[in-house]
Amino acid sequence: MPNASSATRPSGPSPARVLRIGGLLALAAVVLLFPSLAPDPFILSVGVVILSYAVLATSWNLVGGFTGYISLGHAAYSGLGGYATALLILRSGLNPWLALLVGALIVALIAIPVGIASLRVRGASFVIVSIALVLILQLTFQSWHTFTGGSGGLRVPRPFGPDVLRPEQHERFFYLHAVLLTLALLTWWLIERSRLGAGLKAIREDEDKAQALGVPTFAYKLTALVTSAFFTALGGGLYALWFGYLDPIFQFSILVGTYMVLMSLLGGVRSLFGPLLGAVVVGYAVEVFKSQYGDTQFHLVATGILLGLVVLFMPDGVIPAVTSFLNRRRRAASIREVSAEELARQRADKQREEATR
């Protein structure tokens, strides 16, 4: 946990801090060096896909992790981001990078009414609306031939000239995705330290109490959703510029939304790097699976079973499981982040102890 206090220690950087900074530097080095280490363009393209998943999962976590409101339909925002970017380039001749930004802003605007409709009541309606949104978008983008190209798909013009070859394309987009990922992570980190973040986490733990304490729950939830939609749309748009082709079936796919949830949950929704870790694991598995077995129905079964297992046995993810294991060994941290659920359990344990005494 980032706020494990070091107040009791003598001055100077604590070992935990050194470890954390070292880890960050190592992570940055791996990302920076990956393109030159990748043996062939295919591996590099897998790297781009994994980074793209990491962007999407981290963006998802801006709403899912902070508020605990699970969206199964975030593919709606990434798909819309892709289409908005492509259509702005094709129909209004905008510069591709400007189109990417404007497209994401449009998607953020679209997320506002969606949020108003789905966030006034608690979790159940939010999930229902999120799924409905993907289904309705898939339906309309498939049928609206004149505007979106319909089920035939839409070709996205390349932002770089024809002289930039494929491997070079992959490398540039790898770094672009890395920049976007850094921005998303930075946003998460800043929100976590802000009043907004504290309010959002209070909503996650107990919305009634948060409201009673004066947290403007609805406004906070809406802010989180719109920010998340914005970054998700940027991720979708950047991916569209790289991939060069949009098909409504894959853009507005329930499965893509599921991957975002699975990655975040597996890595841990409460930690900054959880979704990134989940994206590396799940993204790599998905790509290997595809190249080994092709597009069979079996990846649905595998995704379904993995999601079920994570939900049943590891709903807090890998990172919290490991940190709590380490904390138990050190018994050090003086101020820990405790969820309402853990508190209730501790209290119940104490009561039971007292009762038996």
């Binding site: 608690r122 409905a132 079964v301 379904g304 209730a344």
Partner: protein
Amino acid sequence: MTGALFAQSLVLGILLGGLYALLAAGLTLYFGVMRVVMIAHSAFLILAAYLAWYFHERTGIDPLLSLVVTVPLFFVVGYGMQRFLVSRLRPISLTTMSVLLTFAVALTIEGLLGFVWTGTQRRVQLGYSGMSIEVAGVSIAVVKLIAFGLAAVSLGALYLILRRTSFGRALRATTQHPEAARLVGIDTDRVAGLGFGLGLATAAVGGTALALDYTIYPSLHWHWIGPLMAIIVVGGLGSIPGAAIAALLLGVAASLLQVPLGTTWAQTVFYLALFVTLMIRPQGFFGGRLAQRF
């Protein structure tokens, strides 16, 4: 739109609405007893349709008879699912985690259906498939009438179980206030399990009805879960009469809009209704206190 066409669409809408009503009642049951949004409901619906199709394919007997097997089977599976999967989730995050869990089940079922029977579209061919009867200028396909009959009978049975039996009273008590129900001696865990079984049994009935009249394929369940979830929100989460009324109204609306707009755009009426309901009355039109909190 001519009068005859209008009458035709209206009748078709009511027939379709009946099926929606039965399936939405099942979804409402799960939500009532456990506060669970059961995404896998329509995946089980398609599974039952596949079982009916396969039964007919292998034996040549009328697929309706597969109900004798699928209804008890699904009841047991539903009971087991509640007792062994859903009840393991932590109560504090039950609603959201159960969505993910049942979603995972839905993906698994869809994948297995494609794995076992491939993605090929399937359709049951019966002696009476093409038959229709004509009443006052409106022609109604016999299979649609049977499907509606099945749905109506099952809904009636469900109503009688909930209103007239002591189990029904226990189930309604559990829905209204689980703690109070436990205090008066109701084994709410068992009731919740049985409620789940009952809900899944509606998917078995619905799936058989579906197999009579529709071409089925593994990913078809997404076309059903969207409208069904819209229906339970519009009707008010947890209210069975609300779900039934919303199902009939929206079924008729979709059917009427199909004439000028075509099938795809007519489907959007469900999502539009969902959106409008959440905007102006988030607890739905017939939901009680329960719906306001979810």
